[in-house]
Every structure is written in C-alpha cells, then in structure tokens.
C-alpha cells in the first residue's frame, strides 16, 4: 500500500468507498448513541436501550439489503485501497449477525418483563451490555469483509475486547473466572496470530492476502518458515471458531455468562471466523505446496468433532453441554471449509445458517426452562416435558436437529456437508476427505447420546414436586410461545424446502 501525495485523489477514493460502509457506520453510530444515553441518563431504562438496538439493527439491515441488490453474484468491490471488500458473502453473514441481534433483543425483552436479575441489576438495564453486543457485531462484520491482515487483526481484536467485558456479566466468581480464562487464552492467541502475521509480512512484504506478491513471496520462502507463519496466523482464526486445541475457554464462558450472551457467543464470533476462513483458507491453506494445509485442517476438523462430542457426553449442565456441542459443530463447519470451493462453500453457508437457527432455538428454550426451574442442570428438567408439552416438543425438535436427524434442517445441513466431502473425494481421491467423512458420520451416533439426555429428562423422568418458581406473566408466556414458534419452524421448514435457502445462497457465489 503506497502512500501517495495526491490528497484530493485519496479523499475521493475514501469518500467513494465510504458509501459502501453504511451498515458498519450505522453500527458504530448506534454504539455511540448507546454510550451517550448510558452516560447521560440517571435512571436506566431497558426499553430505550432495546429501542436503540433495534433501530440500529434494522437500519443496518436496510443498508445490507440495498447493497445486496446493487451487487451481482461473485462481484467483489475492493474499498479503501483493498483493505475492505464488499461482496455478497460478507453481506449474507452480516445479515445473519443482524438476525442474531434481533434474537438477543427479543430474549432481553422477555428478561425485562420477567425481571430476571443479573448480579445487582436487571440485565436489560445495563448499558454496557448493548454496547458490547454492538461492538462484537461491528468487529465480526469487519472480520468477514476483509482479506487484509491488518484489518483482520483489528477486527478480531475488536471482537475479543468486547467479549472480555461481556463475559463477566453475571458478576459472580464463576463469571470472573471464565472472564479471566478468556482474557488469558485470548491474548495468547492474538499474540501468536500477530507473530504469525508479522512473519508473513516479513516473508512477502505485503499485508494483502490476495496480492500476487504475497503468493510469490510465500512460495519463495523456506518451507519451515512459511509453514510456521501460516500456522501461527491460522491459530488466531481457529481460536474464534473454537476449534481444538483452541477450545478450552468455551465451556466456562457459556456456563458463566447470562443465557442471551451465551447464545450470542455461540453464533456471531464463530460464524465470523467461518466467514474469514472461507475467504482466507484457499489462499493460506491450499495454495502453498510446502504447507500440508488439507491434512492439517482435516485432522483439526476430526479432532474437534470427536473432542466436542466426547466431552459433551459427561455434562450435566445444559449450557455447558451446548458449549461442547458448539465445538463439535465447529468441527463439521471446518470439514465443510476443507472442500470450500464451489459447492462446498454453499454447504458451509447452509450449515452455518442452520447452525445459527438451531443454537438460538436451543438457548431460547434453555432460557425458558431456566426460568421455570431456576436451574440449568439437565437433571432438574425432569417431568417438565409432560407439564409443558409444547415446550417439550420444541426442545425435542431442536435436539434432533442438533444431532442431525430427519425431519429437521440439521439433517439436511449434514447431508450437504457430507455430500460435498464425498463429491470432492470422488474428484480428487484425497484419502483424508474419506476419513473426515467417516469420522463425521460416526460422530452423529455419539452426539445422539447426549442430545437425547434433555428430552429424556423432560419426558421420561417424573417431576419430584410442584412448581419451583411461579409461572411467568401472561404477556411473557405469549412472547415465549411466539419466540419458540419463530425459532423452531425454520428448522422443520428448511428440511422440507431446503431449496429455498439454497436458492439465496447460490446467489452469493457461483459454483466453480
């Protein structure tokens, strides 16, 4: 990136580029408005915060829609001297983040009505809560719209720093422990990544991954050095998607934070990492002949699936179980990234979308059950399925979807990923693809065992005594039902009409 003296020209480029940055700018403005409101207002009003959040999300969503229609398939606009990219892949993922924010608003709205205490205050009255959510979203949006190492680093750090604060939101020992663990792991991972990036810069002389100079420099470098540089850089990305061995922080975090935050964590940073890997994996992993990227990623995918699923077997806490489950799902997403050219990237995006729907639904229901039982222990769910059949059945559907059984979208998503793997194997005959295929499918059986635990307690076990906590208010119950319906229906619909979602996804990248 050369520094020119032509100020007028630069200004023109910046201004022209800025018009494509409206979704991010909206998020930043919303963030600042929230900050000011929080500072100025004496009496905290959850309603106002949620209002600002909703307005921000909807405005940014509007700009995303506009950008989507202005771009065509495969079109990629480099902005700000190639540091940012605007394309439909980024827009799609950003829309998913917006959807998650909408979900968080909904779940917080219920908290507001249900007056759920977090530490000393009600969750919805803490201004920083919204602030950090928007901060993560902004970081994640930047993560999925760049192939420039500097921007990638800054975006990841924005996500991480906001997360460090958000993790401590239960204000108790557990939460603090989780937060500390996260900060330590997180800073170690970004240190490694930064080291890797600086090595890459040293080897190639550029930070732009798509630059031809970058490729040439990497090929010319000594294999050991380039492998080291790529490996270190990638470890930062893998930290975000919580792949083994960078997954140790996940369970404590999920258990320690309020449920909406856990839901948010399980989706947004992970999908941002997936989006990032979709962009950079072909460049970093597969183009360097000296670096065994396919093997490495294949092994990481397999180990992640196995470690996540096996560790989940022993969990007694629903949120902790979901943490390990999300690790296992990372493994499946990585398996998709392994074959992410052409159709493979479609399957990854499909899986990512379904994963979002499944996880949000699962946390929503865990939250509802948590209100009733005052607990996240699976054993305390006993008998509730018979008492609240609609909730029980919804939970069953979500767990079946997470396992990957028909008739849910979870099955379709897995079917597509494995089809892509087989197809790639058919064309390239690389044995590691077949191993990932087999390991992934066999993992489904392990997964069934722990996912079924929740319906098992819901339906098979007798409830010990009468209600532990009073039923929620009428309005809150209605909101709960609507939310459940909105979250569970897509899981069934996308099984019976998977082509609807695929039609949208096929508008992002064309096959081959």
């Amino acid at each position: 990136m050369e520094i020119t003296v032509n100020l007028a020209n630069d200004l023109r480029i910046i201004l022209r580029s800025a018009t494509w940055l409206w979704p991010e700018v909206t998020l930043a403005i919303g963030l600042m408005v929230l900050l000011l409101t929080d500072l100025v207002m004496r009496k905290k009003r959850g309603g106002l915060f949620i209002g600002v959040l909703l307005l921000t999300v909807l405005t940014s969503g509007y700009f995303l829609l506009q950008q989507w229609s202005l771009l065509s398939i495969d079109e990629s606009l480099p902005r700000f001297l190639n540091t940012l990219l605007v394309d439909r892949l980024g827009i799609y993922l950003k829309s998913l983040f917006s959807l998650t924010l909408l979900f968080v608003s909904l779940i917080t709205l219920r908290t507001r009505i249900g007056s759920q205490q977090v530490g000393f205050e009600r969750l919805d009255q803490i201004g920083e809560y919204y602030l950090m959510l928007l901060g993560i979203t902004l970081g994640a949006s930047l993560m999925v719209s760049s192939v420039h190492l500097l921007i990638i680093y800054l975006a990841i750090e924005l996500v991480s720093l906001s997360s460090y604060v958000l993790v401590n939101f239960n204000f108790d020992r557990k939460s603090a422990k989780a937060s500390l663990k996260y900060v330590l792991y997180g800073s170690a991972a970004s240190g490694l990544m930064l080291y890797g990036m600086s090595l890459l810069y040293g080897l190639t002389g550029t930070l732009l991954l798509t630059d031809t100079v970058f490729q040439e420099g990497l090929q010319a470098a000594s294999p050991l050095l380039s492998s080291l540089a790529i490996g270190l850089t990638i470890s930062g990305f893998l930290f975000k998607v919580s792949a083994v061995p960078f997954h140790i922080w996940v369970p404590d975090i999920y258990e320690g934070v309020p449920t909406p935050v856990a839901a948010f964590f399980s989706v947004v940073p992970k999908l941002a990492g997936v989006g990032l890997l979709l962009r950079v994996a072909p460049i970093l992993f597969f183009s360097t002949s000296s670096f065994p990227g396919e093997w490495l990623l294949g092994i990481i995918a397999m180990v992640t699936m196995i470690a996540g699923n096996v560790a989940a077997l022993h969990q007694t806490n629903a949120k902790r179980m979901m943490a390990y489950s999300s690790i296992a799902h990372s493994g499946f997403l990585l398996a998709g990234i392994l074959v992410a050219d052409g159709w493979g990237s479609h399957t990854v995006l499909f899986y990512a979308t379904v994963y979002l729907a499944m996880n949000l639904a699962a946390f929503w229901l865990i939250n509802l059950l948590g209100e009733r039982t005052n607990s996240y222990q699976i054993a305390n769910y006993r008998g509730w399925g018979l008492r609240l059949p609609a909730l029980g059945i919804a939970m069953l559907v979500v767990m079946i979807a997470l396992t990957g059984l028909p008739p849910t979208a979870g099955f379709t998503a897995k079917l597509f990923i494995f089809s892509a793997l087989w197809d790639a194997y058919q064309q390239t005959s690389q044995p590691q693809l077949l191993y990932v295929f087999a390991v992934g499918l066999l993992n489904t059986i392990v997964a069934l065992f722990y996912y079924l635990k929740i319906p098992y307690y819901l339906f098979f076990k007798k409830s010990p005594e009468l209600d532990v906590s009073p039923s929620p208010t009428y309005f809150s119950q209605i909101l709960g039902k609507i939310g459940t319906f909105l979250l569970v229906t897509p899981l069934l619909l996308l099984f019976f009409k998977a082509d609807w979602l695929l039609a949208i996804i096929s508008q992002i990248i064309s096959v081959l």
């Binding site: 159709w343 295929f437 098992y456 096959v511």
Partner: protein, 580 residues
C-alpha cells in the same frame, strides 16, 4: 382421489393425529378410538389398492432395473437444487407399489390395526401414546412404498423417534435402558445406510430428467428414448451441468444410470484392493441387518421387546424387523447385484448362524417373551438365507417368511401379553397345566406355536420349505451356497420345534400349577377383545398356509424377474470388474 391412493394411505394416520391434537387428554376414549379408526382406514385403502393392482401389468418404464410391475406411481418434484456446473440435485416425492411391497403393505396395515386394538389397555397418557402410535403408522407404511431414497430414509429414521418414546414411557421396568439402546443401535444402522445413500446419489443420474433438461427427449419418454439418453451419458456426451443427480431407488438399480468414472460405477474407485461398491454394499447390509436383526447385531432386540408394551412389541416384531429384510432386498441387493453374488456365502452364513444361535438361545430362556424374541431372530435368519440363495424359490421363500412371521409373531406376542396382563409375570416356570384353566386360550396358543414351528397347513411351513428348497438348489443352480448351510438350517427347524413344544408342555400341559395362589382367580379365559385380536391373526396364518398362491401370485413374477436380473447383471458386473 384414485390417483392419490398411496399418499392417502401414508398420511391418513397423520391427518387423524392432527384432528386429535386439539382434543384434551381427558377424553381418552376418543384417542383410543382414533387409533383404531385411523388404522382401519389404512387397511381399507390398502384393500382398494389390492383390488386395483394388476400383478401381470409390467411397467415398461422400469426396463433394465430391478423393478418389474411398479404401479400406482405418484411422483412429484419435492426439492430440486441447481448446483451450477455440478448439475442438478433432485429429490422426488416418489411412491408406488409393486408385487414385492404390496404384500408387506397389506401386512403392515393389518398388524397396525391389531396393535391399535391391543393398545386399548394402555392407561397412562393415552393422548401422547395415540399420537406417537399414529406417527409410527405413517412412517411404517411410508417405508414400504417410498421409492426415493431420501423419502425412504426419512420414514426409516422417523420410525425411531416414536418408537423410542413408546418404549421409554410406556414400557416395563428397564424401559429407559432398553429404549436408548434401541435408538442408538438402530441409529448406528441408519448411519451406515446414510453413508451408502450419499455415495449413491452422487453417482446416479435420473435419465428422464436429464433427458428433459438436455432436450434429448420429451415429457413422457419411451424406454427406447431413455436408453438413448443413457447411451449418451455413458459415452460422455452429456455436459456435467446437465446431470440430474437423483435419489430415485429405481434408477439406482440400472447400471446405465451410473455416471462413468463416479465412485460407485462398475469401474469406480477402489479403497486398497476393495471396490468402493462392495464397501457400500456392506454398509447397506450392516445397516439393515441391525434392523432385521441378525446375529451378531441383534442384542438390542431382546431388551427392546421385553420392555416394550404388548402393542409395541407387536409392531416391532411384526413390521419393524421386516423393514430390515425389505431394505436388504431393495437397496443392498438390487443396487449391487455383483456384490450380492460375491458375498452370498457370507450372507447365507449370517442367516444360518442366526437360525441356530437364535434357536439355542430361545431354548435357554426362562421368560416367555424373551423366548419369542429369540425365536424371531431365528426366523429372520431364514429371510437372509433365502435371499442369499438368489434362486426364485429361495427369494420367494424369504419374502414369504417375512410375511408369515409378520402374522405369527404378533400372535405370539399377544399371547405373552395376555398372560402378562393377568398376572404381571411371564416366567415359563411359574405356570403349569394352564389348559385346565384357560382352554380356549390354549387352543390359540397351540395354533400360534404350531404355526411358528412350521407345521404343514400354516404359513410358516410354506415359507420355510421354499427357503430350504432354494438353499439346497443354490448349490446346483448358481453355486452360491454350499449344501451344508441348508442342512444346518433344516437342523434349526428341529430346534425351533423343540423349544416351542417344550414350552407348550411346561406351561399348558401336565398338572395345574401357578406360583402364587392369587393368580388363579385372575387367570380367566380370553375376553372378547382378545378374541378380536387373536382370531384374525390365527386365521390368516392358516389361510396363507393352505392357499399360498394368494401370496405367491403377487410376488411370483416379480421375484422370477428379479432373480434373473440379479444373476444376469451380477455376473456381467463381476466380469467387468475382473477384466479390469
């Protein structure tokens, strides 16, 4: 109406379930009647289908495939995805019946009705039970008529969930262990099937749809036109972006539909020295013999049966096991004929082992229900043996065995249930001389036991004789099975007779004895509701025993055609693979 008969057949229980959904649980009578009405409607629709079915009408369109007289075809586009340069992906809603599946559909609806009547005694949470039972009815029947692999797999998996809850909530003392074991075991089987399914659909194209897209043929093509498309495909004249990858199970049995150089074509990929096709065959075979079940993958069955409520045992033994056999016939065998020839010895061996091992186990059981369960394992061994022989006698015998066991095992489980309902105890040693106390019941027990052990005049006899004939003939006709297999299977017959007669003697003959005095007054003879369930089943085994042509007329021609197809195609494939 008439053209949607099969759809109506599959989904009528689901419609009833939706109607019953708003009915509050307290009206348990409505839910009980609902189950019976739904399954009765299914039976009536099946009889209409039977009346419309013409066994001699050959479907021209399926020429070159393993299917002979496919009728009442319903086919609509369900999910179709454009993969750009990789072609298209098409999942169809494709249902039909042929001479092979129709008897099993008739059996299913009949047994489901009996099971619905048997469910009358369920007291706990009748609404939930009823809804799950109706879901089960839909998926069992759906499994037998689905001809799109995706749809078939959907029904296959969807059976597990209701079954899991029906065993896990309404079962016996160790129901939770049994239900989770059942689910995990059968899911493991399904995963093997899924592996093969993914490989298959990525290797097979639908010639009709592909022809339409390329414009080679019109809307209703003739067999000649389809041949032309297949020829173009094999020569590599059709562009990859025009390929329509399909889940069509009929298309999967025609070697001309396999993409040249795809991993499951005859010249497909090898893993080490093994062709991937043979691995796929084994994946399907293992998947379905878990459901069948055959030794050594049968260990879930005794637990599931013993803990399941009577009505669910009836469905499990009568129908779910048949899906295992049907699946082997339709997928593993029909799609990989050369592997069926290659591994006939192994399949036959598994069959013989199941017959003997199941029979010896049954001899040793103290629990009446467990004895019947192991007898099921033993009987299912005959299905494998018959299929492995790949002779028309053997295959029709295997199919007849599925049908006949589908009538007899519900009878036996209802008998065990009748005793259990009265005393809550099923130990054989706890009873003696029951004839004096329950004479009419004993008559039905004798019929059931004699039918099961293969007495001439009952359906079991015809089935076993045909199977053994096929197994013996195989050594001379196609040299697949050695003679000793048939000999050992025949030995199994003696064992089967042994344990049934011994049980009969211990429980029903001799001096009257029950373990606890209080049982005596509860051991009354059959109620009218039990007659309604037992008599039709007993009558059916008798009818199909003295008039086997009722069944054989339906399956005869398709089986003859299928056996020719298997032997012909199989040898051709093997030659191709060997010459490679």
């Amino acid at each position: 109406m008439a053209e949607n008969l099969i759809t109506l057949l599959i989904f009528s229980p689901l419609i009833v379930a939706l109607l019953l959904l708003p009915v509050p649980p307290v009206y348990s009578l409505i839910h009980r009647v609902g189950m019976i009405v739904a399954t009765a409607v299914q039976l009536i629709i099946t009889l209409i289908i039977y009346a419309q079915f013409d066994a001699n009408k050959v479907a021209e369109i399926t020429e070159g495939t393993a299917y002979y007289n496919l009728q009442l075809v319903e086919r609509t586009d369900w999910i179709s995805i454009n993969l750009g340069n990789l072609g298209h992906l098409s999942i169809d809603y494709f249902v039909a019946v042929d001479g092979i599946s129709l008897p099993l559909v008739i059996l299913s609806t009949f047994v489901l009705l009996i099971a619905a009547i048997s469910s009358w005694t369920i007291q706990k949470q009748v609404k939930g039970y009823g809804l799950l039972f109706l879901l089960l009815s839909t998926s069992v029947v759906g499994c037998f008529v689905a001809l799109d692999f995706f749809l078939f797999y959907l029904f296959l998996e969807f059976m597990l969930l209701p079954m899991y809850f029906l065993i896990g909530i309404w079962g016996g003392a160790r129901r939770e262990y049994a239900s989770i074991k059942f689910f995990l075991y059968t899911l493991a089987g399904s995963i093997f099937i899924l592996i093969a399914m993914i490989g298959l659909y990525l290797s097979v194209i639908d010639p009709v749809a592909t022809g339409e897209i390329t414009g080679l043929i019109g809307n209703h093509p003739s067999a000649v036109e389809i041949d032309y498309v297949q020829e173009q495909l094999q020569q590599g004249n059709i562009d990859q972006s025009d390929w329509v990858r399909t889940f069509d199970m009929v298309a999967m049995t025609d070697k001309d539909n396999y993409l040249p150089n795809s991993s499951l074509s005859t010249v497909g990929s090898y893993v080490g020295s093994l062709p991937l096709r043979w691995l796929a065959f084994w994946a399907l075979l293992i998947g379905f013999i878990i459901k069948l079940p055959s030794v050594p993958l049968h260990t879930w069955l005794p637990d599931a049966h013993v803990e399941a409520p009577t009505a669910i045992s009836v469905v499990l033994a009568g129908l779910l096991l048949k899906i295992g056999g049907y699946g082997i016939f339709r997928t593993a065998y029909s799609m990989f004929p050369e592997a069926a020839l290659q591994f006939a010895w192994w399949v036959g061996f598994l069959g013989v082992i199941s017959i003997l091992y199941g029979a010896f186990n049954a001899l040793a059981m103290h629990d009446l229900k467990k004895m019947i369960t192991y007898s099921s394992v033993s009987h299912m061994g005959f299905v494998l043996l018959g299929l492995a022989s790949l002779t028309s006698e053997g295959v029709s015998g295997g199919l007849y065995q599925m049908f006949s066991h589908g009538l007899i095992s519900p009878l036996l489980f209802l008998i065990a249930g009748a005793i259990y309902d009265r005393t809550h105890d099923r130990m054989i040693a706890h009873y003696g001389g029951l004839t004096q106390k329950m004479p009419y019941f004993t008559v039905l027990v004798i019929i059931g036991f004699f039918a099961a052990l293969g007495l001439p005049g009952f359906s079991g006899f015809v089935a076993k004789i045909l199977t053994l004939l096929g197994a013996f003939n195989s050594a001379t006709v196609n040299e697949l099975l050695p003679r000793w297999m048939a000999v050992f299977a025949a030995l199994g017959l003696i064992l089967i007779a042994g344990y049934y007669l011994w049980t009969l003697q211990r429980m029903f003959f001799g001096k009257y004895y029950v373990r606890e005095e209080a049982w005596s007054e509860r051991l009354i003879d059959l109620t009218w509701r039990e007659y309604i369930m037992l008599v039709p089943l007993a009558a059916a085994t008798f009818v199909f025993g003295i008039a086997p042509s009722l069944f054989l007329d339906m399956v005869g021609e398709p089986v003859r055609y299928w056996v020719d197809y298997m032997n012909g195609q199989g040898t051709q494939y093997l030659d191709q693979m060997m010459s490679r």
